[in-house]
């Protein structure tokens, strides 16, 4: 990432760069017959290992479908999805996911919520009983790192929305996934909590260097967090442009008010504005 590259027309990174996630000309259709809708058409995205990618686009452009494809919850109608060199033909088992809704289990306290994936994912599933202490310490450390120290024994209803989302992030990361999929995870939070959580996520990512695909509507969020931003077209979604964000890490909130940062946000905004106009033109 040298200097600000202009927005390029294609979505693909040059082949040969060690792609961790490869989405190759994928189309996805829901339903059949007259009610058949095309969510994605010819979407191509490559993500390097350890890269932080944000996907932005007009609403209803199939961003969430993209998440389901990558994690193997859905199969593409056309095209292929490969993660870590292997074709995805079922749930991935190595991914962590977090959504706009924290979806914590109300009958479990925060610590037990965070540890839920350990009860499911191999090899932790088999080791959990014997090494509970060690795993609990790991969960405590993770809670500590997102600012939830001492809240492990609280139940979700005792936490504010921002705290629940922090816990949800911990749950997505407890099994040290190689791939973190985030579907508008901060959209339901107030602006200040959201910015606070950006910093938390950035810190975690800088420490652990997992691969992140972040779906978001918030362009400031995308520019603040991501190394590369992919812009999707209106439905049926495909990648229409890629924007590298040239700033180094860590980025601070102050950075988001600098002219060069604001310029990128602006540029993205215009791009999406164009996509929306095309969408309206098509639908009329």
């Amino acid at each position: 990432m040298a200097i600000a590259e202009p927005v390029t027309g294609a979505g693909a990174a040059a082949p040969g760069r060690d792609a961790f996630v490869e989405i190759d000309t994928v189309s996805l259709a829901y339903g059949s017959g007259p009610s058949r809708t095309l969510a994605l058409r010819g979407a191509t995205i490559n993500v390097r290992k350890g890269e932080f990618v944000a996907v932005v686009g007009p609403s209803g452009c199939g961003k969430s479908s993209l998440m389901k494809l990558v994690t193997g919850l859905m199969r593409p109608t056309v095209g292929s999805v490969r993660v870590d060199g292997k074709s995805v033909d079922g749930p991935l088992k190595i991914a962590g996911m977090a959504f706009q809704n924290p979806t914590l289990l109300p009958w479990r306290n925060t610590l037990k919520n965070v540890m839920l994936p350990l009860e499911i994912v191999d090899p932790h599933k088999g080791r959990l009983r014997a090494n509970r202490k060690e795993y609990e310490e790991r969960a405590e450390r993770l809670l500590d790192s997102v600012g939830l120290k001492g809240f492990g024994n609280r139940h979700p209803w005792e936490l504010s929305g921002g705290m629940q989302q922090r816990a949800s992030l911990c749950r997505a990361l407890i099994h040290q996934p190689d791939l973190l999929m985030l579907d508008e995870p901060f959209a339901a939070l107030d602006a200040f909590t959201r910015e606070e959580l950006w910093a938390v996520l950035q810190k975690l990512w800088m420490e652990e260097k997992f691969t992140v695909i972040l779906v978001t509507h918030d362009l400031r969020e995308a520019v603040y967090l991501a190394e590369t931003i992919r812009i999707m077209s209106a439905r049926p979604g495909r990648i229409v442009a890629t924007r590298e964000v040239p700033f180094g890490f860590p980025r601070t909130l102050d950075d988001t008010f600098k002219p060069e940062f604001v310029d990128i946000v602006h540029e993205l905004r215009e791009h999406i504005g164009r996509e929306r106009t095309t969408q309206q033109a098509v639908s009329q």
């Binding site: 009958w107 809240f151 209803w157 005792e158």
Partner: protein, 285 residues
Amino acid sequence: MSQIDQKIDSDASDLVLEPDAPAPSRRLVTENSAPWLIAAGTLVVWQLAVWVFSIKRFVLPAPTDIAASLWKWKEVILMHAGQTLYTTLLGFAFAVVGGMLLGVAVGYSRVMYRALYPILIAFNSVPKVAIVPILVIWFGIGTIPAVITAFMLSFFPIAVNVAAGLATVEPELEDVLRSLGASRRTILFKVGLPRSLPYFFASLKVAITLALVGSVISETIASNAGIGYLMLNASSRFDVPLVFAGLIVVAAMGVAIYAVFAAVETRTTGWAVRGQTQRFDAGGG
């Protein structure tokens, strides 16, 4: 960071402090005594009405007559009440097991849902009184038809509630677990069943009162023991105060077993009640 932490802290402490806030104790007293006041008021009006309009005892006995009858026949009533309670609880026990299994089957499997739901609705629409004579042909009179009738009336709400509970698992949470490689069975045990527990316990208090209704119906038609039989017997002898005494006993038993299962509900699934209160507080749907 510190500002936001403070904000979060104050949020949290608000929530934690809420239950400790000094309750308006006078309102609480009124709330607790209200049902007793209403019951006592009804009895007084009833008693006065019987006196003022000099209603015949075999038409509508006064509460004092009923009380006298209750006292006079207390041993007989106790024996019959014991029988009714026995058939009610036995039928209810079967209903808990059957209803839960059925609810899980219907809530878990789409095919089972498609296959069983119409039959369940049809079965639930049949008046159970109409089935008792058939049961008598098969099993004779007495305990067995009463237990079966209690079962038939009470398994339905349990099954429906358990199925509904399983259906409320958030699709996103299912995505999280499936993306970790969880099987449908794992999701059922980790999320589906705990999620449906509050629904299950909520249905118990409804189901137990229905079981009581079932038992009494069956005893009224085909039995030589139980409160239903006692009432039928008393009415054939025009001992109307005893009939009413039987009604009072059934009602009292209903309230008592309802209270027991309501208490079980709050004890076992407090998290759900808390969660709900909070949702209402937030003004959300």
